[in-house]
Symmetry: C2
Subunit: 427 residues, 2 copies
Amino acid sequence: MTRDLIRDLPKKIGETVNLKGRVTNTRKLGSITFAQLLDYTGTIQTVWEKEIDIKPGEVVSLSGKVKEDSRSKSGVEVGGEKIEVISKLLETPPVDLTKSKFDIQLSTLLDHRTTTLRHPRIHAIFKLYNLLLEGYEKVMREEGFTEIKTPKILEAASEGGANFFKINYFDKEAFLAQSPQLYKQIMVGVFERVFEIGSTFRAEPHFTTRHINEYISIDAEMGFIESFRDVTAMLNKVVKKIFAHIRENGQEYLDLYGVELDKVPDEIPHLKLAEVREIVEKEYGYKIPDTTDIDPEGERLAGRYAKEKFGSSFLFITHYPWSDKPFYTMTSKDNPKETEGFDLLYNGMEIVTGSQRIHDYDTLIANMKKKGMKDKGLEFYLETFKYSMPPHGGWGWGSERTIQLMLGLKSVKEATLFPRDVKRLKP
Amino acid sequence: MTRDLIRDLPKKIGETVNLKGRVTNTRKLGSITFAQLLDYTGTIQTVWEKEIDIKPGEVVSLSGKVKEDSRSKSGVEVGGEKIEVISKLLETPPVDLTKSKFDIQLSTLLDHRTTTLRHPRIHAIFKLYNLLLEGYEKVMREEGFTEIKTPKILEAASEGGANFFKINYFDKEAFLAQSPQLYKQIMVGVFERVFEIGSTFRAEPHFTTRHINEYISIDAEMGFIESFRDVTAMLNKVVKKIFAHIRENGQEYLDLYGVELDKVPDEIPHLKLAEVREIVEKEYGYKIPDTTDIDPEGERLAGRYAKEKFGSSFLFITHYPWSDKPFYTMTSKDNPKETEGFDLLYNGMEIVTGSQRIHDYDTLIANMKKKGMKDKGLEFYLETFKYSMPPHGGWGWGSERTIQLMLGLKSVKEATLFPRDVKRLKP
């Protein structure tokens, strides 16, 4: 028996079809039962003039006749004839998936992920996430970037950051990668423009709504730039195209959150960090503490300023201090205490970090010395710069956080299928 | 000064253009110098009627006039006018990248990866790898699969395999994922069809040409199948479309290896493991040892048989013994000692493993008992099957090995940018 797909039903009015899928909801109206069916191509209302022994949540196989239905989005419904349960619910699910509001505690949401992911509102988050990935894969290739996959197990915690997870690697110790930084720079020497979508691990003991210990970083690195502004210009273009892709293909999911997707300006405004610190104090009376470049409240207010002043949900904050940035970051020509780098804020939170990198061997060695770093473990990386490297730069982009901010979710964990934090290692 | 791209030059005959890229080779003929230039869009020959102070391998910026050249593939060359080195070679590279033959030892190839990746033959491997990834991303979405990203840090080494890497996860112990198996099955309950491209870690102390300890697995899982033959049929279709994509976009890279890409049959032949064992002995006089289902020599001969008998570079070997397969594998209806599973061989080596999975809660619990497994650590996974799951199956596919076999490379490490093995943790 051939299976018909829900998306094809509008072309099959009057025909008897065989469908398979999950019944997401049922409703009785007198002697009539309505059952909503979901398959991987869409949803459809089925109408039954008899009792059916189906519980919402069960997967079924059914047959029925396709009829016009002007009230539904697809313009059709199915007059049910036969229905059979393929797999029964053995217990009542721990959460009620049939309520359109789904306002449950984060811990419950995550503890029962297997079930909660099936709710249409949660389902929508990861359909949008899929569109973000698809958009990135597509757009980066359009821009001439080659996709690469770099190792996540490293010999040394050598990238200049702290908080690496340690692994027992046979008879040695090894570390989980915090980013593909060194490898993607090496690959600029091969393909000039590269991108990667990969797992990233940070052993930071955070308890915040914006951090997780394992996430998917979407990275890029490009050669022959004149300055970091070539990188922000490329990122601007990429974000704009991806958001257009999500708008075009994800409206039904955005609608569940009442979200109209933010417009991406042709030129996202740039402000120096020093300017941002002044503006935030002057405009909103908030003094960003001197112990930090910028804190979450500072970012929130900078985002508010970008919205109020430029009508932009996005803002580049540039020229962070050299002392806080990794050794491979290019220092600013005008002020060597600042860097040719940027963060991209979206709705008042950082989603991307990037910069121009040092491509000159001697400068790199000098910079490492200033940071008190040794060559050891970095020989393979440093070798790259002995053999001619173009000026280059790139970014690391937090994928889950982008979806969090797009939908206004309270925690980034809501935008992660199976999040990992200090306390959570399952499901 | 605007940068012109090499791919656009055929449209700019007679114009003066500004190019940037790496000089991959130079050659003198009397008073004329030829310099091959590579940028991210292609390569072009530049011709100089004067001495130029450029070493092969250096990145440069140059200007010149585009001229017709009927002998070159693009139909054009550039008459060089000005050239400037952007970044000098500080030392002679450890390997000579200008030789078209590049027959160096694997250890040198990997030790100096930064340099060796720049050779056109090595460059080509990873351009083809990029096409494999692009093909998978595109084709899987065409077939209605949603892309997911599942965690690589796990609380328990619970999947039924051995050889997990251990991590220090804050005050606990954790493990690196050997596959996304349990998570992708959970996601069938959400999206019905899912795929993932992700890092996979195996702490197997192998010293072979076909194993690495970290690799990229390209996975899929699909619901509402009638049998595992629906999975092999889907995989057949996907492989066929991806190979067509590679053929269409990667011929110049295949040419460097003299490879004409294998035709993928509309119906890849299926043979049961028991049959394969008989055939290999009868046809080639090789007895596969009883201590194994099939060994590399057995696979090689099975591949040879598929080629000789069916003219196919691909072969599905099915019905592996239940005793050797993980607990989630569906046993065969006809013979409970066999499984509804398969390996896909390509040129005599396994590249994909898959099966129908058990979707019935009670059967799953019974199967775990038979395997001597406990629920502990698997509660979140088992919960999935209490709440109605369709019959489903899927595969895990070794991406690097596919490129190895496509090009006939001696080791899978040659098809991995920065491979990890028992002894190698860098570069």
